[in-house]
């Protein structure tokens, strides 16, 4: 890589600097260090933002997850594609075995006796109990806390056996604990106040049991992890993992093209074209769990009509008015496809044969006419003197959604519906979704590998008043039939029946036009040609970083 050229090569105009550097490298120790560098396989990932935290129970960003997944271990590791029912889709990680109780209300995990924290202390069952307590303690305010709903407790049978207990059995018990729980060291964290974890020394220099150990973190600049050569799971192929922060997308892409970085997790537009044309870089596609959608605010008075979007016929008409295929092609070119519903092709049991509401402007116009929204001489639809109009909200950071908002506005206009466009910064976008101070909004949702978690976004809010707990159901969508069908599917153990039940639930929400399912982005990463990625999972492309093959850097 080019940085080595600075160390060993001599760009002419920095000759003086290089000579000084050479003087600093002349000792045998320096030579040995240089040799080690040359033989070291280092993987550099360029990222738009820095990690938010390095304690698993505090992490809320993708960047943070990428790092803690290398530093800490799960009890068992999901294999790709992630299967959420039962334990068949998992292989041992921190636990080298597990056994179910006869009533399936508990699972006993046998901790690998060879597992060690990076400070040399053995990993024990007590660490599992402690980690569960950290995730679920309200004082920690963990973003993952809800993922452990339904788990009663974790107990310690002996120093190497942790037992997880549930209130009731369900098909995703094993997934729930094995996927969501990263085990943290009790001996280093127990003495820290739970509401001060983020400001502790451990947060700046974490100690895990994963195949990489923490080496250095310069905030907003770079984060370095080094292979744990003595790890109980064996040493990883890549000796060093480095995340560098490049907030400007153009600069991030140039760093990759120039060979200063090896991986850019997502390329779009010009960056995609440049990566395709580069002799140094190639593109790698991996499955996506994201979908973009136009959500309606069901509880809001729009166009002077209380709960306007609660009208099923109106929602169907608005959906039929949109040529989603054209919009996706225009905004994303070949890097996206039309969304099928609140799930993606990578969702377990995804069914691509669901019946969709077709693009049909005449049917949409007739439906609106039938509901009393008639076009006037000016082409606008009115009912009782009120114009059918609403506002489209989206965050300023998304150029894709900006393009889509303009295209949607144009397509709605064709059937006489006027829309205004409002762009706000992400903090305001999130706040307005939560408060319900919007008419319609363009949002992107990253789904969980478990299809059951659809309830967080589309399940009816608990309580019927305006103060109901909406979770992530920003639409305030309510559909008792859908709720019941999702619950039935989520409780089903038989895989074939489960798939059929989920299909029925998805068809219900698509038929109901709960939202306009717009697009499913194609995830395309750009990687240096010396890198051979393996197993890019939809939910975590970084999950197998330790198994990636990287040719060692060699001096020119």
């Amino acid at each position: 890589m080019r940085r080595v050229r600075f160390l060993t090569g001599t760009p002419r105009f920095v000759t003086v600097l290089a000579l000084a550097a050479a003087a600093g490298c002349s000792s045998p120790e320096a030579k040995e260090r240089d040799d080690n560098r040359a033989a070291t396989a280092t993987l550099t990932i360029v990222s738009a933002a820095d990690a938010d935290a390095l304690i698993p129970s505090l992490v809320s960003t993708t960047q943070g997850k990428q790092v803690v997944d290398q530093l800490f271990d799960r009890l068992a590791e999901p294999v790709s594609p992630v299967e959420t029912v039962g334990d068949g889709g998992f292989r041992p990680q921190l636990a080298n075995g597990w056994s179910w109780s006869p009533d399936s209300l508990s699972i006993a995990f046998a901790i690998n006796p060879k597992a060690r924290w990076h400070d040399g202390t053995p990993v024990r069952a007590e660490d599992v109990r402690f980690s569960f307590a950290l995730y679920t303690d309200p004082a920690v305010a963990s973003p993952q806390r809800d993922a452990f709903e339904g788990i009663d407790s974790v107990t310690v049978r002996d120093s190497l056996t942790a037992v997880v207990w549930w209130h009731a059995r369900h098909p995703e018990q094993f997934f729930q604990v094995a996927y969501n729980l990263l085990v943290m060291p009790e001996h280093l964290l127990a003495s820290i106040a739970r509401d001060s974890l983020g400001s502790s020394a451990f947060a700046d220099s974490p100690v895990g049991s994963g195949r990489y150990r923490f080496e250095r973190w310069a905030r907003q600049q770079a984060l370095v992890l080094t292979a744990d050569r003595a790890n109980y799971r064996g040493a990883p192929h890549v000796q060093r993992l480095i995340w560098v922060v490049a907030p400007d997308p153009a600069a991030a892409n140039l760093r990759l093209l120039a060979g200063e970085a090896d991986v850019l997790e997502s390329v779009r537009g010009d960056a995609y074209v440049q990566a395709r044309q580069s002799s140094r870089v190639r593109t790698v596609e991996y499955p996506s769990l994201d979908y973009g959608y136009l959500l309606f605010n069901y509880d809001r008075a729009v166009s002077g009509v209380p709960r306007l979007f609660a009208d099923h016929t109106l929602r169907v008409a608005l959906t039929q008015a949109i040529d989603r295929k054209a919009i996706v092609a225009n905004a994303l070119d070949s890097l996206g496809s039309v969304a099928m519903g609140p799930f993606t092709h990578a969702t377990a049991g995804a069914d691509t044969t669901l019946q969709q509401l077709a693009f049909d402007t005449s049917a949409a116009s007739q439906a609106l006419d039938a509901r009393g929204w008639r076009r006037g001489a000016d082409g606008l639809r009115r009912k009782g003197g009120r114009v059918l109009t609403f506002d489209l909200l989206f965050p300023s950071t998304s150029s894709t959604r900006q393009r889509m908002a303009v295209l949607l506005q144009e397509q709605f206009k064709r059937i006489g519906v006027t829309t205004t466009i409002t762009t706000v910064e992400p903090a305001v976008f999130g706040a307005r979704l939560e408060e319900g101070t919007f008419d319609a909004a363009l949002n992107v949702w990253r789904t969980d590998p478990s299809p059951s978690t659809i309830r967080q976004v589309w399940g009816s809010p608990r309580g019927s008043s305006s103060g109901a707990n909406i979770g992530a159901n920003f639409s305030r969508y309510r559909n008792a039939t859908f709720d019941a069908r999702i619950d039935s599917a989520a409780r089903e153990f038989n895989p074939a029946t489960r798939r059929a039940l989920f299909r029925r639930a998805w068809q219900t929400i698509v038929d109901d036009a709960a939202a306009v399912w717009l697009y499913e982005p194609r995830n395309v990463a750009a990687v240096h040609r010396r890198v051979t990625p393996t197993d890019l999972r939809a939910d975590a492309w970084w999950a197998s970083l330790s198994a990636w093959q990287v040719e060692p850097t060699t001096p020119p």
Binding site: R3, F6, L7, P11, V14, L17, A21, R33, N36, R37, T42, D50, D52, A53, L58, S60, P138, A139, A141, S142, P143, R145, D146, D195, G198, S199, R216, A218, R219, Q220, Q221, A222, V224, I242, V244, V245, A246, P247, D248, A250, A251, L254, R255, L257, A258, P395, P426, A427, V428, F429, G430, A431, R432, E434, V444, W445, R446, N469, G471, A472
Partner: protein, 327 residues
């Protein structure tokens, strides 16, 4: 009023400015929609219960007046608090960012002064020379160019095109963990070149234009003709008689740039991934990170008011006419 008392008065004035800025920035962030916990809401993030707990822990559930009193009380005791977004000590984060920014902007400013003065003098002294005209045209183009365009242009040419310089960041992460102190120092210098040149060119263009105008005015003055008639050598004429009267104008222009030294150059820091004060403040404001914004404001406002005082003192020293006015 003695000079010491005048300076004391100005320092008292600076304290009032800092306090007002803090109150205003706190009030504006409080009034702005969204909060530190809302940025990731659209993608799920924390549950409403977890968000409520964090708001309670941070005192965000208290009335505005109570929050403001706690905030000012803490800062009054020298405690800048902890960042909402990454839980770091604000004092440490701001001081780190300030050091990096001063390194970048300080180098850029020195480059700008050197380059701007040289070109300005050349243009003012030998205005009919082809090189003066060429340099003038080039710097006018740079002056007119938006900073991000200039930054991307230099990045493309000097870093990507030639491969001589790194594409961004403050250092090579690998060298930061494996290099000797000398290597790390050289590496930082290597990373500093292109962003500092970007700033130096932009600011240098401004300095040269003012230097040129000031020198042209001086060159046509009666005392210069008198000096020539008395047989003063051209070099001495320039240095002793030509340059000195034009310095207050240039010093004032440089003074206007001093606040940026501490406040950071947001565009250049963003394009080159330089983790300084500008990018810290933008990030903190977008995330409604009140303690971080407050800490940065304390530093920037102090720097602006003190640099303003410093430049007034410098002008007072350089220009005898200024001594008739109070500071």
């Amino acid at each position: 009023m003695t000079a010491g008392r005048r300076v004391g008065y100005r320092l008292g004035h600076a304290c009032a400015v800092i306090a007002t800025t803090l109150i205003l920035s706190f009030a504006l962030l409080h009034a702005a929609p969204g909060d530190a916990l809302a940025a990731d809401t659209a993608q799920g993030g924390r549950s409403p219960a977890a968000r409520a707990e964090l708001r309670r822990q941070r005192g965000l559930d208290q009335p505005f007046a109570v929050q403001l009193a706690h905030y000012l009380g803490r800062i009054g005791h020298g405690d800048l608090g902890r960042s909402y977004t990454d839980q770091r000590s604000v004092r440490v984060a701001v001081m780190e960012a300030l050091t990096r920014t001063l390194l970048l902007t300080g180098t850029g400013l020195l480059g700008a002064i050197a380059c701007g003065l040289l070109v300005g003098i050349l243009q003012g002294w030998r205005s009919d020379w082809w090189l003066s005209r060429a340099l003038g045209a080039a710097l006018t183009a740079v002056y007119a160019m938006p900073e991000f365009i200039l930054a991307l242009l230099l990045l493309s040419v000097l870093a990507y095109g030639t491969g001589w310089f790194p594409m961004g960041g403050m250092y090579d992460p690998l060298i930061s963990v494996t290099g000797t102190p000398m290597e790390r120092l050289l590496d930082t210098g290597h990373h500093l070149v292109v962003p500092a040149v970007t700033l130096a060119l932009g600011w240098g263009a401004a300095v040269s234009r003012h230097q040129r105008v000031a020198l042209l005015e001086t060159v046509g003055a009666d005392f210069m003709r008198t000096a020539v008639a008395k047989g003063v050598s051209p070099f001495r004429l320039l240095l002793r008689h030509g340059l000195r009267p034009s310095l207050p104008t240039v010093a004032a222009v440089i003074g206007l740039m001093l606040p940026v030294l501490a406040g950071g150059a947001v565009v250049v820091e963003t394009v080159f991934g330089w983790p300084g004060m500008g990018s810290l403040l933008v990030r903190a404001t977008a995330a409604r990170d009140v303690p971080m914004v407050g800490g940065a404001m304390v530093v920037i406002t102090t720097a602006v008011t003190l640099s303003s005082l410093a430049i007034d003192l410098a002008l007072h020293r350089l220009d005898p006419r200024q001594r008739e006015h109070a500071l």
